[in-house]
């Protein structure tokens, strides 16, 4: 069941420009898969190829063992929720939701029953007779969702499903989407530029840039083990230091970094050689900050002063200026309740991190 959706060598050229460049991907049944990338990275084009609105220049798409590459949209077992929601303005909510079933030729009594069910699922039962212009943004989004799932497609494509909602509503809707996906067992493919959305929703994420996948993995893999600098930068915030490999031991890797102003110890790996240029990346929450020199000799330690600080309630964010004037971002949880701040501006501090907190990126 691993390859419910099989994308093989898909390319899409607009003139000379490759919007999608030789992309292959397997998606398992029941997955909630996100394609994450900035604007113009080709993610929407790929989604439109899956829906059948664009024909790929090269490559094939298989869904549930059937080659759908040349099938028109109205024959594919796939439905899509559009970014603009694309709700038919001249039809009531119920008519919008019923449209797909009507085209399928389902009996009228069945249509009514299934429309009621779908509207129940998205909690819009009382709005069935309304016209779209009488709905709020969140309600329109749910109409679009109900309309897209009513045919029980094998795959549901969602184009920026939450982008048009405000923050509070977005958080709530995220969990609703996950529940609905769980309940129906439909495979979801979501396209988004919002990394937080991708992290919370997805079973797996593909990070896309310039028409290619840079990394495919679970949210945890993508966040903790980014494969290159783009992925590391794109997902969350991260501190990066350029350096050269100085020493390779059984369990550790020592990297000399001028940017960090010290040598950095990382976990050992076998795909590097001494003298190789690498990039060291550390997440702000993996860095400890304190006034006293930490005593664990394995940890990387650097001195600096508090250049800036931000108190967020649950977290404190620090911008620590190193001796060589580089800035390192550190975040720490405010575990203790106290009336005074733990650190103040211009305090001299030590920052440190463990070897296993370090991601070594090969350029």
């Amino acid at each position: 069941m691993k390859d419910f959706i099989r994308i093989r060598g898909i390319s899409k050229y607009f003139g000379d420009f490759a919007a999608v460049d030789d992309v292959s991907l397997d998606i398992a049944k029941g997955e909630l898969f996100s394609i994450l990338g900035g604007s113009g990275c080709g993610k929407t084009t790929l989604l439109r190829i899956l829906a059948g609105f664009e024909l790929p220049t090269k490559g094939t798409v298989e869904i549930d063992g059937v080659d759908v590459t040349n099938q028109p949209p109205y024959q594919r077992p796939v439905n899509m929720m559009f970014q603009s929601y694309a709700i038919f303005p001249h039809m009531s909510v119920a008519k919008n939701v019923a449209y797909g079933l009507q085209k399928e030729g389902v009996a009228r009594t069945d249509i009514e029953k299934r429309v009621d069910q779908a509207l129940d699922l998205v909690q819009l039962r009382d709005f069935a007779k309304r016209k779209p212009d009488q709905l709020s943004g969140g309600q329109r989004q749910r109409v679009a969702l109900a309309r897209a799932i009513i045919k029980r497609p094998k795959v549901l494509l969602l184009d920026e499903p939450l982008a048009a909602l405000d923050k509070k509503l977005r958080e709530r809707t995220q969990f609703e989407l996950m529940n609905i996906q769980d309940e129906l067992g439909i495979t979801f493919v979501v396209v988004t530029h919002d990394q937080e959305e991708a992290m919370t929703l997805s079973t797996r994420i593909a990070v896309m840039e310039q028409g290619r996948f840079l990394q495919i993995g679970t949210p945890l893999e993508i966040y903790e083990y980014p494969r290159n600098r783009f992925v590391a930068d794109f997902i969350g915030t991260i501190n990066t230091f350029d350096g050269t490999v100085q020493q390779i031991d059984e369990n550790t890797l020592v990297i000399d970094s001028e940017e960090a102003g010290t040598t950095i110890t990382a976990l050992g790996r076998h795909d590097v050689v001494v003298g190789q240029k690498v990039c060291v990346a550390v997440r702000p929450e993996k860095i400890f900050v304190g006034k006293d020199e930490p005593d664990n000799s394995e940890d990387t330690r650097v001195r600096g002063v508090v250049h800036d600080l931000g108190y967020l309630g649950n977290l404190s964010l620090y911008r620590i200026k190193l001796v060589n004037d580089n800035i390192v971002l550190v975040s720490s949880q405010n575990r203790r309740r106290s009336a005074s701040r733990f650190l103040e501006w211009e305090d001299e501090v030590w920052i440190s991190w463990r070897p296993r907190s370090v991601a070594v990126l090969l350029e």
Partner: protein, 265 residues
Amino acid sequence: MMGRSRFILSALAFGYAFLYIPLVFVVVYSFNDSRIATIWGGFSTRWYGELLRNDQVLDAAFLSLRIAMTSATAATILGTMAGLALARFGRFRGRTLFSGMISSPMVMPEVITGLSLLLLFVTLQQLTGWPGQRGFTTITIAHTTFSMAYVAVIVQSRLMSMDESLEEAAMDLGGKPLRVVLDITLPLIAPAMIAGWLLSFTLSLDDLVIASFVSGPGSNTLPMYIFSKVKLGVSPDINALATIIIGAITFGVLIAWFAMRRMRT
């Protein structure tokens, strides 16, 4: 501030007076009892009665209405198809040329349009024997050609402002292309089509120049009848006829305006 607004107000008043005083005269004199059109002889509606007994006027009016209805309907069908092609078929070869050519009948001098159509009909008749006699058919075809340009432009602008993903969504839900046009596209551009039809109707009813070129013996449209009659001197029943036409056109324009306004919301 005060001076400027007074200036603007008088400019406005003068402009509207310039536009509408002639029309007011026509309307007022249509209720004139006197036989001499320019002398006021008291209020009367007798010219309206006389108009209804004038077979020539009624024939001309009936012909004009038939032409206007037919050509407006044909122009709406053809213009909508052209508008759809321009707005929805993406970039096809010669699209710029096509969209430039569609609007050229709107700017072409009517004399030229009329003359070229007359030449076309004459040549066609020599070659194929059709159209045997110029009249209803030729005037309708002529009116359709220039009216469809207006319809195409209105429909195209409506489609441009419409979210294309509406049609994609319908196709995604299982609608075949023709079905999608009937279910989604046509209902949404209906206001534009109605506005286009009314505009074509009015343009056709109004046209004198092109109709004069392509009409034949015995087929006088209403404007042609009025024009020929006025050459012999203004008679009061023409004022009554003009008033009726003003009323009808105002009505048509108002409906077109309402349809356009609904289409924007």
